[in-house]
Protein backbone atom coordinates (compact mmCIF):
# COMPACT_ATOMS: atom_id res chain seq x y z
CA UNK A 1 0.00 0.00 0.00
CA UNK A 2 1.46 3.39 -0.94
CA UNK A 3 2.31 5.69 1.93
CA UNK A 4 3.63 9.14 2.69
CA UNK A 5 7.24 9.17 3.79
CA UNK A 6 9.16 11.88 5.64
CA UNK A 7 12.81 12.56 6.34
CA UNK A 8 14.49 13.00 8.68
CA UNK A 9 12.60 11.32 11.49
CA UNK A 10 14.35 13.53 14.05
CA UNK A 11 16.20 16.81 13.70
CA UNK A 12 17.96 18.86 16.32
CA UNK A 13 19.00 22.37 15.41
CA UNK A 14 20.20 25.57 17.00
CA UNK A 15 17.93 28.57 17.25
CA UNK A 16 18.30 30.79 14.20
CA UNK A 17 19.35 27.98 11.89
CA UNK A 18 17.49 26.98 8.77
CA UNK A 19 15.90 23.56 8.52
CA UNK A 20 14.33 21.73 5.62
CA UNK A 21 11.87 18.95 6.27
CA UNK A 22 11.22 16.59 3.42
CA UNK A 23 8.19 14.61 2.40
CA UNK A 24 7.37 12.26 -0.43
CA UNK A 25 3.58 12.25 -0.89
CA UNK A 26 1.65 9.39 -2.41
CA UNK A 27 2.43 9.48 -6.10
CA UNK A 28 -0.97 10.16 -7.67
CA UNK A 29 -2.13 12.63 -5.03
CA UNK A 30 -2.77 16.24 -5.93
CA UNK A 31 -3.00 18.10 -2.63
CA UNK A 32 -0.22 18.32 -0.10
CA UNK A 33 -0.20 19.61 3.45
CA UNK A 34 1.96 20.34 6.42
CA UNK A 35 0.66 20.14 9.95
CA UNK A 36 2.44 20.38 13.24
CA UNK A 37 1.85 19.11 16.75
CA UNK A 38 3.56 20.81 19.65
CA UNK A 39 4.05 18.38 22.51
CA UNK A 40 0.83 17.99 24.46
CA UNK A 41 -1.20 20.09 22.04
CA UNK A 42 -3.45 19.34 19.13
CA UNK A 43 -2.47 18.87 15.53
CA UNK A 44 -2.51 22.25 13.76
CA UNK A 45 -2.75 23.03 10.09
CA UNK A 46 0.13 24.99 8.59
CA UNK A 47 -0.28 25.06 4.84
CA UNK A 48 -1.84 23.34 1.86
CA UNK A 49 -0.37 23.17 -1.63
CA UNK A 50 -1.98 22.43 -4.96
CA UNK A 51 -0.89 22.85 -8.53
CA UNK A 52 2.49 24.19 -7.46
CA UNK A 53 1.19 26.94 -5.27
CA UNK A 54 -0.05 27.53 -1.76
CA UNK A 55 -3.82 27.18 -1.62
CA UNK A 56 -4.27 28.01 2.06
CA UNK A 57 -2.07 28.87 5.01
CA UNK A 58 -2.64 29.41 8.69
CA UNK A 59 -1.55 32.27 10.93
CA UNK A 60 1.34 30.10 12.08
CA UNK A 61 2.76 29.99 8.56
CA UNK A 62 4.53 33.32 8.58
CA UNK A 63 7.40 34.62 6.46
CA UNK A 64 9.82 32.26 8.17
CA UNK A 65 8.10 29.30 6.55
CA UNK A 66 8.07 28.27 2.93
CA UNK A 67 7.07 25.21 0.96
CA UNK A 68 8.28 23.89 -2.32
CA UNK A 69 7.77 20.99 -4.65
CA UNK A 70 11.21 21.01 -6.27
CA UNK A 71 10.61 17.94 -8.43
CA UNK A 72 7.83 15.53 -9.20
CA UNK A 73 8.06 13.65 -5.93
CA UNK A 74 9.36 15.74 -3.03
CA UNK A 75 7.45 18.31 -1.00
CA UNK A 76 9.52 20.36 1.42
CA UNK A 77 8.91 22.66 4.35
CA UNK A 78 11.64 25.19 5.08
CA UNK A 79 11.94 27.17 8.27
CA UNK A 80 14.43 29.96 7.61
CA UNK A 81 15.38 30.97 11.12
CA UNK A 82 14.15 28.54 13.71
CA UNK A 83 12.78 29.64 17.05
CA UNK A 84 12.46 27.66 20.24
CA UNK A 85 8.69 27.57 19.78
CA UNK A 86 9.11 25.79 16.44
CA UNK A 87 9.96 22.64 18.35
CA UNK A 88 7.21 20.20 17.40
CA UNK A 89 6.34 17.14 15.38
CA UNK A 90 5.77 18.11 11.76
CA UNK A 91 3.46 15.94 9.68
CA UNK A 92 3.15 15.90 5.95
CA UNK A 93 -0.10 14.70 4.39
CA UNK A 94 -1.44 14.17 0.91
CA UNK A 95 -4.77 13.46 -0.67
CA UNK A 96 -6.25 12.63 -4.02
CA UNK A 97 -9.57 14.15 -3.12
CA UNK A 98 -10.88 14.11 0.44
CA UNK A 99 -9.08 11.63 2.68
CA UNK A 100 -5.70 12.82 3.88
CA UNK A 101 -2.95 10.30 4.50
CA UNK A 102 -0.22 11.25 6.91
CA UNK A 103 3.45 10.56 7.03
CA UNK A 104 5.26 9.39 10.17
CA UNK A 105 6.38 12.90 11.06
CA UNK A 106 9.65 14.69 11.75
CA UNK A 107 10.35 15.58 15.34
CA UNK A 108 12.10 18.95 15.34
CA UNK A 109 13.90 20.15 18.43
CA UNK A 110 15.22 23.70 18.47
CA UNK A 111 17.82 24.42 21.15
Amino acid sequence: EPEVTQTPSHQVTQMGQEVILRCVPISNHLYFYWYRQILGQKVEFLVSFYNNEISEKSEIFDDQFSVERPDGSNFTLKIRSTKLEDSAMYFCASTGLETQYFGPGTRLLVL
Binding site: Y31, K42, V43, S48, F91, L97, T99, F102, G105
Partner: protein
Protein backbone atom coordinates in the same frame (compact mmCIF):
# COMPACT_ATOMS: atom_id res chain seq x y z
CA UNK B 1 -14.23 30.37 14.48
CA UNK B 2 -14.93 26.79 13.59
CA UNK B 3 -13.70 24.29 16.12
CA UNK B 4 -13.69 20.64 17.08
CA UNK B 5 -14.13 19.56 20.69
CA UNK B 6 -13.20 16.28 22.28
CA UNK B 7 -14.50 16.15 25.79
CA UNK B 8 -12.48 13.29 27.19
CA UNK B 9 -8.76 14.00 27.32
CA UNK B 10 -7.76 10.82 29.11
CA UNK B 11 -9.73 7.60 29.29
CA UNK B 12 -8.69 4.45 31.10
CA UNK B 13 -10.60 1.24 30.46
CA UNK B 14 -10.22 -2.42 31.20
CA UNK B 15 -10.07 -4.89 28.36
CA UNK B 16 -13.51 -5.86 27.04
CA UNK B 17 -15.09 -2.63 28.27
CA UNK B 18 -17.10 -0.57 25.84
CA UNK B 19 -15.73 2.69 24.52
CA UNK B 20 -17.37 5.90 23.48
CA UNK B 21 -15.34 9.02 22.73
CA UNK B 22 -17.18 12.25 22.19
CA UNK B 23 -16.59 14.69 19.36
CA UNK B 24 -18.50 17.86 18.60
CA UNK B 25 -17.87 20.46 15.97
CA UNK B 26 -19.08 23.99 15.55
CA UNK B 27 -19.94 24.66 11.94
CA UNK B 28 -23.33 24.99 10.36
CA UNK B 29 -22.47 23.93 6.86
CA UNK B 30 -21.41 20.77 5.11
CA UNK B 31 -18.70 18.78 6.84
CA UNK B 32 -16.64 15.69 6.25
CA UNK B 33 -15.78 13.93 9.50
CA UNK B 34 -12.85 11.74 10.42
CA UNK B 35 -11.37 9.81 13.28
CA UNK B 36 -7.64 9.26 13.24
CA UNK B 37 -5.62 7.12 15.62
CA UNK B 38 -2.01 7.53 16.66
CA UNK B 39 -0.47 4.45 18.26
CA UNK B 40 2.59 5.04 20.44
CA UNK B 41 5.53 5.99 18.26
CA UNK B 42 3.53 5.78 15.06
CA UNK B 43 1.93 8.23 12.69
CA UNK B 44 -1.68 9.25 12.31
CA UNK B 45 -3.80 6.56 10.71
CA UNK B 46 -7.34 6.87 9.44
CA UNK B 47 -9.85 4.87 11.47
CA UNK B 48 -13.01 5.89 9.68
CA UNK B 49 -14.66 8.73 7.83
CA UNK B 50 -18.07 10.15 7.05
CA UNK B 51 -18.88 12.12 3.93
CA UNK B 52 -22.56 11.45 3.32
CA UNK B 53 -25.18 8.70 3.41
CA UNK B 54 -25.67 6.31 6.32
CA UNK B 55 -24.74 8.27 9.44
CA UNK B 56 -23.43 5.13 11.12
CA UNK B 57 -20.04 4.39 9.66
CA UNK B 58 -17.84 1.42 10.33
CA UNK B 59 -14.09 1.61 10.30
CA UNK B 60 -11.13 -0.61 10.86
CA UNK B 61 -10.46 -2.71 13.95
CA UNK B 62 -14.11 -2.85 15.03
CA UNK B 63 -14.58 0.88 15.47
CA UNK B 64 -17.69 2.73 14.39
CA UNK B 65 -18.95 6.28 14.62
CA UNK B 66 -22.32 7.92 14.38
CA UNK B 67 -22.93 11.30 12.80
CA UNK B 68 -25.80 13.13 14.49
CA UNK B 69 -26.31 16.30 12.53
CA UNK B 70 -28.72 17.87 15.01
CA UNK B 71 -26.14 17.53 17.78
CA UNK B 72 -23.12 18.41 15.62
CA UNK B 73 -21.57 15.23 16.94
CA UNK B 74 -19.52 12.35 15.59
CA UNK B 75 -18.84 10.03 18.51
CA UNK B 76 -16.51 7.07 18.21
CA UNK B 77 -17.52 3.71 19.64
CA UNK B 78 -16.19 0.24 20.09
CA UNK B 79 -18.15 -2.45 21.93
CA UNK B 80 -15.15 -4.24 23.43
CA UNK B 81 -11.70 -2.67 23.60
CA UNK B 82 -8.41 -4.52 23.55
CA UNK B 83 -5.07 -3.69 25.09
CA UNK B 84 -3.79 -2.96 21.58
CA UNK B 85 -6.30 -0.10 21.29
CA UNK B 86 -4.13 1.97 23.62
CA UNK B 87 -3.44 5.07 21.56
CA UNK B 88 -4.41 8.67 21.05
CA UNK B 89 -7.60 9.29 19.10
CA UNK B 90 -8.25 12.45 17.13
CA UNK B 91 -11.52 13.66 15.73
CA UNK B 92 -11.09 15.90 12.68
CA UNK B 93 -13.30 17.85 10.35
CA UNK B 94 -13.04 19.17 6.84
CA UNK B 95 -15.38 22.10 6.41
CA UNK B 96 -17.26 22.33 3.16
CA UNK B 97 -16.97 20.21 0.07
CA UNK B 98 -14.26 20.07 -2.49
CA UNK B 99 -10.79 18.74 -2.50
CA UNK B 100 -7.87 20.30 -0.77
CA UNK B 101 -9.56 21.68 2.31
CA UNK B 102 -7.62 21.53 5.54
CA UNK B 103 -8.35 19.24 8.47
CA UNK B 104 -9.29 20.86 11.76
CA UNK B 105 -8.41 18.57 14.65
CA UNK B 106 -9.75 18.16 18.12
CA UNK B 107 -7.36 18.08 21.06
CA UNK B 108 -7.23 14.30 21.10
CA UNK B 109 -8.18 11.64 23.64
CA UNK B 110 -5.51 9.49 25.17
CA UNK B 111 -6.95 6.00 25.67
CA UNK B 112 -5.25 3.51 27.92
CA UNK B 113 -6.57 -0.03 28.01
CA UNK B 114 -5.50 -2.10 30.98
CA UNK B 115 -5.27 -5.86 31.05
Amino acid sequence: AQSVSQHNHHVILSEAASLELGCNYSYGGTVNLFWYVQYPGQHLQLLLKYFSGDPLVKGIKGFEAEFIKSKFSFNLRKPSVQWSDTAEYFCAVILGRGGGNKLTFGTGTQLKVEL
